[in-house]
């Protein structure tokens, strides 16, 4: 019997598809993004990037560049007060020593990837800054490099860092693997390979910095993390309170603006010159040097009973960190924890390693490790279904996690898991089957489910804060340090506030993402922002409401809990009402604050030893199920996605229109990953540094994605919401692979599923002698 949980609809503003307040400026062309800002006397900054992936810098000569007319400053590693950037977990407890990683702000002697920053320039014009870069003479001695994580782990491999090429390893073990496989009626094996992907935000890395009053280095930058102000301060050798980061509305992040981007270069250039400096990267610079999504090589061995019940799974994961650690250890952790998928598997072993190479560094990108493994576990489920002769949906339902189940890592699932309902709703949304439109075309359908954590590791003691206040006219101001990447982060907070305080949306103004002036709310990453700042705003608004109602109770001569707030007034049960401004005047007279600063602390826990399976790792998980109908042209190998439905339990949809937008947008990014986007690195050299070679999906490449919203009310976020930023990017590649197998009988295991690759696989399966398909050649 499936447990069905439904959310009550008792809200006025929450749950409505209200138009986002930021959309008006954006559609009018009035939003000033980071690179649109301008300051009097502003210089233009640029970065010199290494052309080699592995080299020694023998000599840098900057004097010719420095002497050029219009060049204000040229900086190399020796000019940087503290030339190390620590990748830590901003704003948190700083107790996660093993996960720290470091890199040089500017290269110091050794080059480890193509695109590594070597020098900085600031000049009167952008053209002059670029001329100056060309005038910097750098003598490189190319060195042998290593470009494959498997090769990097061999003892004789060139070392990317002195401490060796194994960056991190996670092991998870639960139950008794050998006993599990001994029970199995069928065992299926598969090897899967994913590829490098770029965030592809349309707004490149950009910002403007200046030294403000009191010597505060102020940086207005496109970022997901304003709390990098601390990192910039450390590099400049300044106290933390002398650096301020402001994030205007961001032109897309997707994880690519989670690590430090240009803010540290801007900080250095403005501090050295004491003049405002702008830096805007070209698309080529961005595609060359921005951290990428990790390629994963995944080996799965899955044991199941004839009933389809999973009994054992052995998983080996190897990912490519590129040249610097960034978030790689954490990404591998997320992959490990979710590697067995949203299923009950009693006996599991996961061995995940991440290796340094001389490739472009990899780090956060939407899905953060938990998306790559979906191709592994969801392909395996279909293989199990085929082996036991059952419907793949049925096998998923049989094994789906339920409340009370325990993950291999030891975490008990405390909240509702709607997988069977999601699966059914996604499948139904496909409607009637499409008939093939030509003899060479095959049509097929597939499904894929996933789980994605939201919020941070529980031992990072995550918190977020918000300030809300009434103005004397009854309008409301919110201040919170939330960077808004375009997903409606700020607008959702206005909706929650409007709901609780009973004021119309248009009476709420929000100030976001200023590390000096807004209470800190942490990073807009890891699908945490609605969960964390949503809860912070909810707590704050409720406290403010209580403060105001207690005064209103005196004015109205009624009990505070008998009062309601709506349409800008406070009302009694009998219908007597007082407008907010009058109550606020009473607050002023009585000395009762009309503001509140609130903090939300996520439930936290102790550091978990993954290998011992000792408990809770993440606050909660989000679950989804996708269904795809594809056509495969057997002559060209071209896959076209005809229909696509994506169902997610979002707990509660604060703004259903924004939720649909996240589902559609993330799914299309997932389809781009599945079908066409690929950063091609040849011996560490990037061959895809333009949008004409790095292909993000256009409108003709994808179908209309049908979003299916399920609201169980079971999330850890405000009013029962779950995060939705990342979850829908997980299933597309697996859903497409499963649909292609349904259409053609071939199993695609290496992303992206380009026509070339599909045609090769089809050639193997339709060979004259009717042999089994041969494994794909993973080399290029």
């Amino acid at each position: 019997m499936t447990e069905v949980v439904q959310v009550a609809k008792e809200f006025r503003v929450v749950g409505q598809p209200v138009a986002r307040h930021d959309a008006r400026d954006k559609v009018a062309g009035q939003t000033l993004y980071a690179g649109d800002w301008t300051m009097p006397g502003m210089l233009h900054g640029a970065v010199l990037q290494s052309p080699y992936p592995s080299a020694r810098i023998c000599r840098i000569e900057t004097s010719r560049a420095s002497r050029m007319r219009g060049v204000a400053v040229v900086l190399t590693a020796g000019d940087v007060p503290r030339n190390t950037l620590w990748t830590d977990l901003p704003g948190q407890t700083m107790v996660v020593g093993p996960l720290r990683s470091r890199l040089n702000v500017l290269a110091e002697g050794r080059i480890r990837y193509q695109g590594e920053p070597v020098a900085l320039v600031a000049a009167e014009t952008e053209a002059r800054a670029r001329d100056a870069l060309e005038a910097i003479e750098v003598e490189y001695e190319p060195l042998p490099g290593v470009f494959d994580p498997e090769e990097a782990l061999r003892p004789d491999a060139p070392r990317v860092h002195d401490e060796g090429n194994l960056l991190a390893q996670w092991r998870i073990s639960s139950g008794d693997l050998a006993a599990g496989f001994a029970r199995a009626d069928v065992v299926v094996e598969g090897e899967y390979q994913t590829h490098f992907v770029d965030a592809g935000f349309l707004e490149p890395e950009s910002g403007v910095a200046w030294v403000d009053a009191d010597g505060v280095v102020t940086i207005r930058v496109s970022t997901q993390v304003i709390e990098h102000f601390r990192d910039v301060a450390e590099v400049l050798g300044l106290p933390h309170n002398r650096v301020r980061v402001i994030a205007p509305y961001v032109g897309g992040g997707f994880g690519g603006k989670e690590d430090v981007t240009v803010e540290v270069y801007l900080g250095l250039l403005t501090w050295k010159t004491k003049r405002p400096v702008r830096m805007v990267w070209t698309r080529q610079e961005s595609l060359l040097a921005r951290t990428k999504r990790h390629p994963f090589r995944m080996r799965y061995r899955t044991g199941a009973l004839r009933t389809g019940e999973l009994v054992a799974q052995q998983i080996d994961l190897l990912s490519d960190a590129g040249a610097y650690a960034y978030m790689s250890a954490l990404v591998a952790l997320y992959a490990s924890v979710t590697a067995a998928g949203p299923y009950r598997v009693p006996n599991v072993e996961v061995n995940a390693r991440v290796a340094y190479t001389n490739n472009c560094p990899t780090s956060a990108m939407r899905g953060f490790g938990a998306m790559q493994v979906v191709l592994g576990y969801e392909s395996q489920i279909d293989r199990v279904a085929r082996a036991v002769g059952l419907d793949p949906k049925r096998v998923r339902e049989t094994n789906a996690l339920r409340r009370g189940d325990t993950l291999p890592v030891g975490q008990v699932i405390e909240r509702h898991v709607a997988l069977p309902e999601l699966l059914e709703r996604a499948w139904q949304a496909l409607g009637d089957p499409t008939l093939p439109r030509a003899p060479s075309v095959r049509v097929g359908r597939g499904v894929a489910c996933n789980m994605q954590p939201y919020g941070r590791l529980v031992w990072l003691h995550d918190w977020a804060s918000a300030w809300i206040g009434f103005e004397m006219d009854g309008t409301v101001v919110i201040r919170t340090g939330v960077p808004d990447l375009g997903a409606g982060q700020a607008s959702s907070l206005c909706q929650i506030t409007s709901e609780v305080l009973g004021v119309p949306m248009e009476h709420v103004t929000i100030h976001i993402a200023d590390s000096a002036l807004t209470p800190l709310a942490g990073t807009t990453t890891g699908t945490r922002q609605l969960y964390m700042s949503g809860n912070a705003v909810l707590v704050t608004a409720r406290n403010l409401r209580q403060q105001v109602l207690e005064v209103a109770a005196q004015v109205l001569n009624a009990a505070p809990d008998a009062l309601t707030m709506a349409e800008g007034e406070v009302r009694t049960a009998e219908g007597r009402a007082v407008r907010l401004p009058e109550i606020l005047r009473h607050c002023a007279k009585l000395g009762v604050p009309r503001t509140h600063l609130g903090v939300y602390h996520a439930p936290s826990g102790e550091v978990v030893d993954l290998s011992k399976g000792t408990g809770k790792v993440f606050p909660d998980y989000a679950f989804g199920a996708h269904a795809a109908e594809v056509e495969v042209d057997t002559e060209t190998g071209k896959i076209r996605v005809l229909k696509y439905a994506a169902a997610h339990d979002v707990g509660r949809a604060i703004n259903p229109q924004s939720v649909e937008g996240q589902i559609q947008g993330a799914t299309v990014q997932g389809l781009g990953f599945a079908l066409m986007e690929e950063v091609i690195l040849e011996q560490g050299i990037n061959l895809t540094t333009s949008f004409s070679t790095y292909l993000i999906p256009g409108v003709l490449d994808v179908p209309d994605v049908e979003p299916v919203i399920v609201e169980s009310g079971e999330g850890a976020g405000p009013l029962g919401a779950r995060g939705i930023g990342e979850p829908p990017i997980g299933p597309p590649a697996a859903a497409v692979a499963n649909a292609v197998e349904n259409a053609t009988g071939i199993r695609l295991t290496t992303t992206p599923f380009t026509p070339e690759r599909v045609a090769r696989a089809l050639g193997a399966v339709t060979g004259e002698d009717g042999r089994e398909p041969v494994p794909e050649d993973h080399s290029r």
Partner: protein
């Protein structure tokens, strides 16, 4: 060289180098609503209307604009600053997320509905083929344009 062309209905004079793009000249003249996403004519973020035709301004050399009319997204606002109903439709349908592609999308869509108002979804998609959006997955953009056309002409 000094050249003159019309920006959003106003004749303006510019001092440009022969190799400068229209995109760069417009931005330096304060038209920040024209965005640079790729610099090579692929993404459509820098779309402007050049004599009412949508073009990628990163591919137009500025001197070629001499004597022509250029319209940016700000030029669509009606007297009194109110938005064009097509822009309202994009807001209402949730077709705007990060917004960086939006000025280009608005102008491409505007030129399309002015030229070919009798449309279906596939025709709308064809028209938008030169404008990349990384956030929305396109469905709500197509929804908005479809609803606008139906509302005006349906």
């Amino acid at each position: 060289m000094k050249i003159e062309f019309i920006v959003n209905g106003q004749p303006r004079e510019f001092d440009v180098a022969a190799s400068e793009t229209l995109l760069k000249v417009l931005r330096e003249a304060g038209c920040w609503e024209v965005k640079e996403g790729c610099g090579e004519g692929v993404c459509g973020s820098c779309t402007v209307l050049f004599d009412d035709q949508p073009v990628s301004s990163c591919l137009v050399l500025a001197p070629l604009a001499r004597g022509h009319s250029v319209i940016t997204v700000r030029g669509l606002q009606e007297n009194g600053g109110s938005l064009h109903p097509l822009q309202e439709a994009l807001i209402r349908h949730g077709a705007v997320q990060c917004g960086f592609c939006t000025p280009g999308i608005v102008l491409t869509a505007f030129a399309f509905v002015e030229r070919t108002p009798d449309v279906d979804r596939e025709a709308i998609r064809e028209a938008l083929a030169g404008n990349l959006c990384r956030c929305t997955g396109y469905a709500k953009i197509v929804d908005a344009i479809e609803a606008y056309v139906k509302g005006v002409y349906g």
